[in-house]
Every structure is written in C-alpha cells, then in structure tokens.
Amino acid sequence: MTATPGPLPFERRVAVWDAVLTAVRGHLRGQGLREVSTPVRVLAPAIEPYIEPIAAPPGFLATSPELAMKRLLCRGSGPIFQLSHVFRQAERGDRHSEEFHLLEWYRVDTELAALERDVEAIVATVFAAAGATSSAPRAWRRDSFFEVFAATAGVGLRGDEDDGQLRERLPAELREAVWDGRPGPLLSTDPEVRSLAAWTGLFGVWSDRHLDPWLLAQADVGVHLGEFPGALAALSRRSEQGGRAVAHRVESYVGGVELANGYLELREADEQRARFLAVNALREALGAPRLPLDEAFLDELAGSPGLPACVGVALGLDRLVMLACGRARLSDVTLALGAA
C-alpha cells in the first residue's frame, strides 16, 4: 500500500457505501443467492476461544450470523447471503471495531474453490463500486498453510501434533514466543486444552512474525491461504491428505490485510458439540467465561435432513471498503461517526 491519504471526505463516504452495498447485493443475487436477515440478539453465540460476545440479556449480540444461517440451510433455504452487523467485545484498533459489517454467504453442494472465486469477484465489485481510488489485486494466488509455514518458519508440520510434539518440532524462536513467560492454558491438565492453546498461540505468533511480512512482500496480489492444520479447523471439516491432518478452511488476504474466512462446513452434530466443548474448556483455562451451547442449532444438525453439504465464508466489509478507498484505518471510511 502507498501513503495513506487520511479520512475519506464525508460526502464521499455516503456515496461509496451506497454504491458498495448496492453492488454487493446485486452481485450475490445475480449468482442465485437469496438475502436473509437473522436476529442481531442471539441466545448462544458461536463459541470461539478468542472472540468475546457483548452481553444483551437474556443473550448476546451476535458475533457472526453463522449458526442462525446454518439453521436456515438445514430447513432448505438453499444458497443464501447476509449483510449483518456483528459485535466483538474489546476489539478496537486501526483495523478492528467492536461493531462491524460481516458479509456472510453459503453455497450448497460445492467446494471451497467456489468461495475463493466469489471472494475474488466481491473484491473486484467493491473496488469498482468505490470508484477505484486504489488498485485492486492484479492477480490471486492460492497457497497451502503447510507450504507457507515450511517456507517461512523452516519446519514442516503434520497438522495434528499434540502440544509436546509441536514444542519439539518448532524452531526455538517460535517455541519461546508461544511457551515462555505466559504458561496459562499450556499447563492445563487437559491435553486437549494444552494442544488447542499451543496451536492457536502458534498461529498468532507465526502470523505476526512470518505470515504478515510474507503477505506484505506481495501486497499487490490477493492470497487465499488454504489447507489449515486439522488442529485449527474451527467449524470446518477435517480430512487426511497425503499424511497430513488438513482442515478445509481458507483465509483470504488483500494488501496484507485479512479479509475473509471460509469453511467446508462441518455437518456432524456430535463432532460439532465436541468442538464447542473443547473451546469452552480452553476459554475457561484462559480465564474467559464458558458460553452456552446453541442446542437448537445442534438439534437441527442432528435431525433429518440436517445441514446440506455446503461451504460458507465471512468477509469483513468495512476492511474491504477501507482497502478499496486506499485507506489504512477503518475510521477513515466508516459511517459510524463518533462511534465508541
């Protein structure tokens, strides 16, 4: 990215957002997706180790519309999209805001590659709608997490190592950054908590030290980072591929900025419940409150017909507008004037 030109003039902001919202809706409808709108207040949020929902008694403000949209898919909605306001407590910074627009969509009976093409098309659509004050990615590349990790950190991973194996495998620089000084959940008596803590800690440190510079060195190209380690599957399906434990998850980046996160969606209710419980155990070890499980969602998954084979992706629309306007801060393009 080039030098930042400062806040977008207010008149431009209104015009840009109007054009972007119209273009995004038009594009997805043109692809045969239908727009839905699910509640902003939910009784149980999607449980993530490092995402804190904001309480809105008797529930929470949605941190993402994921579970609500999957329930619609279970009832036969077919391909759908939503432009929702989501809330994540204490996330404030140049590229974070406690409230932001998440553009989330699902396609049925297809592969992650279809979502990657969608993300590319949405990026192009928003850059064009914003008036092309900044140049869109000149091309896209797709890389496997395992390859980029090996190339930048100097060691290969299998994707399902436990915390002890991971600790032995990593170069000293990463091992120390993950383990030293802040043991917390890494000392848990629960081996599942220790491993999840080690993997999530490693991903954060590696992203900050290795992935970000790697992305910035080719900031004019969009990047899809796919084939995550099985241990970092979140809500995606896992499988064994060439001796590796692979999660069918993809993160997309533009200009070095993380923009979208897609999954080949997990459909098994028991596995889904086990993952929620594992994350809750990690949350407890981190000193964060346990969160209620979305039993209605789990019932829907366990029932018949359950969740159809589908892929889904969530894209941070404010960040994309920021990039399309050639800005480096969300506050330069937001319509949330004087927001917290």
């Binding site: 490092y50 917390g184 991903f203 954060g204 900050d208």
Partner: protein, 186 residues
C-alpha cells in the same frame, strides 16, 4: 488493569516506572489471540520502548495524575508551583523541570504530573507568549539571506527571531521545539 484497556495515552507501570502509551496497534490474526503492540514512553526519563502483550494479560495501572498549577518562583535550584484550586504548593527540583525552565515565567499555568503522589514533571502549554527583554536592532538590507537575529526572553532563554521583532515586544513560541512562531500585537 486488563490489556484490553490499552489505548493511546493510557498510563501504566512497569519495573517501577510510569509509562504512557504513545503508539498502539491491535491485531488479531485468523480469529486467534489478540496482540496489543505498543510504543511506550517513560514519563520521567522520556525514553521509549516497544512492547507486545496478548489478550488476557494483566498490567499495572500507573498511579499518575496531573494537576493544573501556576508557576510561582524558583530559588536555590527548586521550582515552586501552586495548585490553582486548593492553593497547595509543591516544589520540583531543577533536573525534573529540565529544559522546560526556559519557558517558565511567573503565573504561567502548567500541568504538574504526580506519580505515587510525588510531583515528577511539568507539561507546558504547547504555545506560550513571552516578552523579548534584549535584542539588537535589525540590520537593514540583509532580509533575503539570513533574516533572523538572536533575542533573549525574560527567562534568559535565547532564540532566533525575524529582524522586525523589537525589544519589549511579545512573541509566541512553540515550547516543544523552542522556536519562534509569530509576533503578538498587544
């Protein structure tokens, strides 16, 4: 205090020193743990350091306050200030006041910084108006090349001013750079 309370101008204590956050970046890769990348300035020495914390970590808030005070006088290497609200007086040694003494004139309103209830420093207004006590008359005909001359303020501080500024006139000064800004017509 929790790291999530960090932001620009937050004050915290590390290794027995008060620090103020001068630059702050929050990042959170791939739905992972948040990182708080900060540049910090030691509020007493002015030295800067970089630190990164992870979400969930705890910090010690610095017991730092600032009070609006009026500068009264200096004597024997100490500077005396008075709280404008309750008339309490405090003394600061010359090394704590540092170069700011160049711009301290009687009755100037400043912020005095207290750490653990002890005065540790002074924050001046960014712009002040002072009187030129001494300056040679300007030399005519040299305005293109080096159109400034040396002048002395009421505190003894010397600075460059344009040739047209005369002794006894009042000038506005940037206290952060110590430089002349403009002549003030009174």
């Amino acid at each position: 205090m929790d790291v999530s309370e960090l932001r620009k101008n937050a004050k915290l204590q590390m290794d027995g020193h008060p620090y103020v956050v001068t630059d702050f970046q929050f990042v959170k890769p791939g739905k992972g743990q948040g990182l708080y990348k900060c540049r910090l300035k030691n509020m007493i020495t002015g030295a800067t350091i970089d630190r990164t914390w992870r979400s969930g970590e705890k910090l010690e808030a610095a017991n730092v306050e600032s009070h609006r005070m009026q500068y009264l006088f200096s004597a024997g290497g100490t500077f005396t200030f008075m709280n404008s609200e309750n008339y309490e007086q405090v003394e600061l040694s010359a090394d704590l006041v540092g170069d700011d003494s160049n711009f301290l004139f009687e009755q100037l309103e400043v912020e005095v910084l207290f750490y653990n209830n002890r005065p540790v420093g002074v924050t001046l207004p960014s712009h002040i108006v002072m009187t030129i006590t001494e300056s040679e008359p300007g030399v005519k005909g040299d305005s293109a090349n080096n159109p400034t001359k040396l002048a002395t303020l009421e505190t003894g501080y010397k600075l460059q001013v344009p040739l047209f500024v005369k002794q006894g006139e009042r000038v506005k000064i940037d206290t952060r750079t110590g430089e002349y800004i403009e002549r003030v017509n009174t």
